[in-house]
Amino acid sequence: MNLVRSVISVFVVALVGVSIAGWVWAGAQPSPNREGARVVLAICGIASIGCLWMLWREKEASPEAEDAASTNLAKN
């Protein structure tokens, strides 16, 4: 699980970096392009951080928990 979410995280962290760089770059652009670009780049950054949070909040199931879940499924 950690391997998979680490690989995904590489792409998502790159996206956070690009969003920050874009935010800085957009500051030098004329209005209204500046506001539009900054709004979507901010959403990109926040969505990326939300994605990292969702990926890393899940805990790997212990073998005992997996066995218990399998037993419950079999009973049901």
């Binding site: 995904i8 770059w25 957009a26 392009n33 899940e58 419950n72 499924l73």
Partner: protein, 198 residues
């Protein structure tokens, strides 16, 4: 005759195979295509934001050698519709929370595809909306094109990877509903191997 009828009943359809025994391979292929496209968008934005290139000159990696890949509205539209079709075709392999996130990605991609259809329509007809000098989409009225499409690809990519993550590591109770071999559980594989004495 009877044999042919029996075979046609038991043989799974292409859709059933793509969402069952071939789901894993289909998702890997689809992910490779999405990541390649995604990497091009990231490269383009790095060229603009970090390297200081002019937006018209920033064409990603492959676009430097093949500029028509960036300038052709048809290729952009074609990619958008291929993505949309893949989301729809592969959706039934997902269950529970992974299905929810997969469909979130599908509906966002649906709107993204509408925007590309507008651009493609203008390129075909030869008339640009809103009196603009080039084909223009609705949200592009408020957001520059490079940032807009980075944004679209981001908000499609994020629910898509969350869906795939929950598909590979299903929540308790959801694993039993999956008909494919995508669930990734090395610990369980080790236990099975040990029980077989290998």
């Amino acid at each position: 005759m009877a044999t042919a009828t029996a075979c046609s009943v038991t043989k799974p359809s292409l859709m059933e195979r793509l969402n069952g025994q071939w789901h894993k391979q289909a998702l890997w292929t689809y992910t490779a295509i999405v990541l390649a496209h995604w990497a091009e968008h990231l490269a383009q934005t790095i060229q603009i934001y970090v390297l200081g290139w002019n937006p018209p000159d920033a064409r990603g990696v492959i676009g430097i050698w093949f500029p028509f890949l960036v300038s052709s509205e048809l290729l952009h539209y074609g990619y958008a519709i291929v993505m949309l079709v893949c989301f729809w075709v592969l959706r039934k392999g997902f269950t529970g929370r992974s299905y929810f996130w997969w469909m979130v990605a599908f509906w966002i991609q649906f709107w993204h595809h509408i925007e590309h259809a507008l651009l493609q329509g203008q390129a075909i007809v030869g008339y640009n909306l809103f009196g603009k000098p080039a084909p223009w989409s609705i949200v592009q009225l408020f957001v520059p094109r490079v940032e807009l499409h980075l944004f679209y690809n981001t908000i499609v990519f994020i629910p898509m990877v969350i869906a795939m993550f929950y598909h590979m590591f299903p929540l308790p109770g959801e694993e039993a509903h999956a008909n494919c071999s995508c669930a990734w559980n090395p610990r369980d594989l080790k236990r099975r191997a040990a029980s077989l004495g290998t």
